[in-house]
Symmetry: C2
């Protein structure tokens, strides 16, 4: 963290172009409090985790992803919900980033989470799985508010912009809390 | 299910060659009760899930995997534990196989689960996540015994053979229960 502001790295666990979770991440870029910038990482180039491959050295997209995490003051993770849980795509990226165990670039990072789904529960089953993962990594997850964007198809306009005021308020609030937590955790 | 026996499709969520979970799966092939055969599917060729890709038609390795699931009477899923949860590799394969929702080849399958880890908890945090996934798919998961192979490095010999009698007994028992459940669920 430098004097000017907070650098947040954000990523979403869906790869499709029209993903509501990617729209939500882009909304967060615009709703971020003053002094916070949200850079976006793409999970598409990250291969399936294989420890035999890792032992030959991390593949280039993994190295780049880990460097982005290391350079960030905090993370913003946006999770879709597939089959009552976190998508494999997101977990797979975190499986790489979580290593080496206890010394990974994830260790100790403040993290805000959010998610969007077309159903009524708004990723309420995926987010606790993501929190389990963060606990393993010694991350400090922002506890509140829960950003559960239900009926996501009704919350964005045709240009992919978040139009729902309640959701926008929650995004603003969770990013404010992330900013606050990151500053409180920083060395005095 | 034909008159002769039960066809079980097994797969493990680790891609490394020396995986204890793959060793455990191979042990299950040998410990299967009479009349049960365990075919093994490889998750390595399955790409990251992307709904835009799916709309162009499932990639060939996904089609093959779904056909293997469809042809099986029951499944045997072996999960490592990464970061207190299911590996992304395994969840990603299931993300493809779970679709189309409510009409996927997973629907209604009887499933046995097991897992191995070098630590003391033997995948006890990954397995409940896997059960959540199975619930979504309308699968019938064998409830007992829990096959939690802890300190996995002490349970196999240099040739990758399961040498631990307690673990072997649990594998036998869960496969026996899978056989029993599959037969009870079959049309009368």
């Amino acid at each position: 963290m430098n004097g000017e502001g907070l650098r947040v790295l954000g990523f979403a666990g869906s790869l499709r172009a029209g993903s509501y979770n990617r729209m939500l991440l882009h909304a967060a870029q615009k709703l971020a409090p003053e002094g916070m910038t949200v850079e976006i990482a793409d999970l598409a180039p990250i291969p399936l985790f294989n420890q035999d491959v890792e032992q030959q050295g991390d593949p280039e997209p993994v190295t780049a992803f880990k460097q982005q995490i290391m350079a960030a003051d905090a993370l913003l993770i946006v999770t879709p919900e597939y089959q009552h849980g976190m998508p494999g795509v997101l977990k797979n990226a975190l499986d790489w980033a979580s290593r080496p165990s206890r010394q990974s670039p994830m260790q100790g990072k403040p993290v805000a989470i959010m998610g969007a789904s077309p159903g009524m529960t708004g990723t309420s089953r995926a987010q606790p799985q993501l929190r389990q993962t963060l606990t393993y990594n010694g991350c400090y997850a922002v506890p509140q508010p829960e950003v559960l964007v239900s009926r996501a198809h009704e919350r964005f306009d045709d240009g992919g912009r978040l139009t729902d005021r309640t959701a926008a308020g929650l995004v603003r609030q969770v990013l404010g809390n992330l900013s606050d937590l990151t500053r409180r955790l920083a060395p005095k």
